[in-house]
């Protein structure tokens, strides 16, 4: 039997990408991670470093000036940035989330208009689906878009918008025909500079403090009709299809956060001495590390398998995207909690990065659909 073929192994190029991003993340992003969290400030250094190295929106196809990275390469970029700073990993992740509706459903002119500046680093892209009274039940949204000649006029409030205020571009889902419920929702590109767009106060969050989360207010925002993404009434379908792909990027964040915590804890237990020896020599500690590494690797394999499906557009993507997001984020919560435990009292202090990682991990179980919603999605789409 021959062993010189790649059975279930990622390519050499993907591993080289991981090395490059890890090296960049450790030298340009990690040094600011604690400060970004402590001060709840935007990780400008990370944005500059990612943009300078064309890693801020790697998913944008080459024909629109992007790097043209496949779904797995995008996962690896997000994973390696999240390993040192989860807040910073929301830059490549949300740029994909915000722009994917345009990539999936937008016409050629819209793609050229908005993907090129995103690729050049001239404007990030946010995604506006949730509202104060429409979270898991996204189709219950109230934001309205009313046609007025060659324009649409938008009114409403979008909540939990990642990178709101920092991003230049916003994919906004709004009701164009209230009678049709989810089939009466359309998607639009709204620009930060459009008259009537404003932002709420930054939410005071448990984690991912460096990534601003704000409300987006739409007050008689009048935009040209060619800003609609796809046909009228297809916005909700586009929004859901987008999430099939981008839940994998949340899984990637979870992997990165968990890997960062495991790496730190594994190093610590070899240094920390009690009862005359390194605590890594105690079997109780070893079993914890083994469980953490086992869960992480299982989550990684599922996530990479899901990424391959996203890239190919396989029919079972919906199940795999939800499963990867749910499993990886649950694993990340367990792994980061155990990593804090391995450091004992030190893990509980802000002098060490683990409590930050544990707080950051929590959001991956909540956003882009809670893990309870993921289970509904999986159950409806069993493979």
């Amino acid at each position: 039997m021959s062993n010189d073929f790649d059975l279930f192994r990622i390519s050499e190029e993907h591993e080289m990408l991981r090395d490059a991003v890890r090296s960049l993340a450790e030298s340009k992003i990690a040094p600011f991670a604690a400060e970004v969290d402590e001060q709840a400030r935007f990780p400008r250094e990370a944005l500059d470093a990612l943009t300078a190295n064309d890693l801020h929106a790697v998913h944008v196809p080459e024909e629109y000036g992007g790097a043209g990275a496949d779904a797995l390469a995008t996962v690896i970029v997000i994973e390696e940035v999240a390993r040192v700073c989860a807040s910073s990993s929301l830059i490549p992740a949300v740029n994909k989330l915000g722009s994917l509706p345009v990539i999936l459903s937008g016409d050629e002119a819209l793609k050229r208009k908005y993907l090129a500046p995103l690729a050049r680093g001239q404007g990030m892209f946010s995604y506006c689906l949730s509202e104060p009274d429409a979270g898991s039940d996204a189709a219950g949204m109230k934001t309205r878009a009313v046609r007025d000649g060659d324009f649409w006029v938008l009114n409403g409030v979008k909540r939990w918008i990642t990178n709101a205020g920092v991003s230049e571009f916003y994919t906004v889902m709004a009701v164009t025909d209230p009678e049709l419920r989810s089939r009466g929702i359309s998607a639009f590109v709204v620009e930060k500079g459009d008259a009537g767009v404003s932002f709420g106060a930054p939410e005071k969050k448990l984690g991912i403090k460096g990534s601003p989360t704000r409300e987006v207010y739409l007050d008689n925002v009048r935009i040209p009709a060619d800003r609609m993404i796809g046909a009228e009434g297809t916005g909700f379908a586009t929004a859901m299809k987008t999430l099939d792909h981008t839940r994998i990027t949340i899984a990637a964040q979870a992997l990165g956060i968990a890997q960062g915590a495991l790496d730190y804890a594994a190093g610590y237990v070899k240094e920390r001495r009690q009862f005359g020896r390194a605590i890594a020599e105690f079997q109780g500690i070893q079993f914890m590390l083994a469980d953490m590494a086992m869960k992480l690797e299982a989550a990684r394999q599922l996530t990479y398998a899901a990424a391959a499906r996203s890239q190919r557009g396989d029919g079972d993507l919906t199940f795999f995207g939800a499963a990867a997001k749910c499993f990886a984020s649950d694993a990340a919560m367990e792994i980061t909690t155990d990593a804090v435990q391995l450091l004992g009292g030190y893990g509980y202090t802000r002098d060490y990065p683990l409590e930050r990682m544990m707080r950051d991990a929590k959001i991956t179980q909540i956003y882009e659909g809670t893990n309870q919603v993921q289970r509904i999605v999986m159950a409806r789409n069993l493979p």
């Binding site: 050499e12 190029e13 080289m16 990408l17 490059a20 991003v21 090296s23 960049l24 190295n53 064309d54 890693l55 790697v58 080459e62 790097a67 043209g68 990275a69 390469a73 970029v77």
Partner: protein, 261 residues
């Protein structure tokens, strides 16, 4: 005709790993991961910057090393070099710096060059003499340890920062230069660069191709022999000076005793 720049790079054991020697007292390359020497990344970076400024240049990366040294070439290609040359021959194992410079010089004669760029030293051997040996063998000027370098027409200019003075140097091409870790941060490979690297040409040479006899290189051809190696003793706890009013004096006395002041 376009400017032909060749960067000499070395595949070295990862300095963050646990580096050891093999039974024959050569570097053990099996027990630790290898990579492109960090100091050579500065050479690749400066070569790419010169090429970008020129607009009409071709950057070749050249290495002498075992099969795995292709990883160092691939990294340099992913950073943006155009092609690579890999000299690989079992008889090269154990070659010292004199022999290495011979192999590199013969390979450079084969590829042709206007400018040879080297790092300031390898991160494993750290001798830093290859650029000078190369220039001597090739019969061209050497301008070493530069913190800035540029090419204008047929002249290479550079700045060397010494302890007491800064020298501004120039030489006519063809020439050999080496650049320091102060010359400018090396770029990270981009996704596009990584994807493009696999398709770039890598030419292989063995000793026969270069007309070098096995006896001129390897352990047998080396001018120096390593008889034995011993690990440096582990660091011991330092001296603690407790300040009870005389701390400054005690510290100064200690430093003076160690001949630091």
């Amino acid at each position: 005709m376009s400017l032909r720049i060749v960067v000499c790079v070395k595949y070295v054991p990862d300095a963050t790993g646990d580096r050891r020697f093999a039974d024959d007292n050569t570097t053990d390359r099996d027990s630790v991961d290898g990579l492109l020497s960090e100091l050579d990344e500065y050479g690749v970076e400066q070569a790419l910057r010169i090429a970008e400024a020129s607009g009409d240049a071709e950057v070749t990366v050249l290495t002498v090393g075992p099969d795995d040294a292709k990883d160092a070439l691939r990294k340099a290609l992913s950073m943006g070099a155009d092609k690579a040359v890999h000299v690989n021959d079992e008889d090269i194992h154990g070659t010292d710096v004199i022999g290495t410079s011979l192999v590199l010089a013969k390979a450079l004669e084969r590829t042709g060059f206007d400018l040879v760029v080297c790092g300031m030293a390898s991160t494993d051997g750290t001798m830093g003499v290859v650029p000078a040996l190369l220039a001597e063998r090739l019969g061209v000027p050497q301008v070493t340890l530069l913190s800035e370098v540029s090419v204008e027409g047929t002249v290479v200019r550079g700045r060397r920062d010494g302890d007491g003075a800064t020298e501004l140097l120039e030489a006519s091409l063809p020439a050999v230069v080496s650049v320091t870790d102060q010359s400018g941060e090396a770029r990270y490979p981009s996704f596009k660069g990584i994807m493009a690297a696999k398709k770039k040409p890598v030419q292989g040479f063995d000793l026969d191709d270069l007309g070098i006899g096995a006896e001129e290189v390897g352990l047998a051809g080396a001018w120096t022999v390593v008889d034995a190696v011993a690990a440096r003793a582990a660091r011991t706890a330092g001296t603690v000076v407790k300040d009870e009013g005389e701390g400054g004096r005690q510290l100064a006395e200690y430093l003076a005793a160690q001949k630091f002041i």
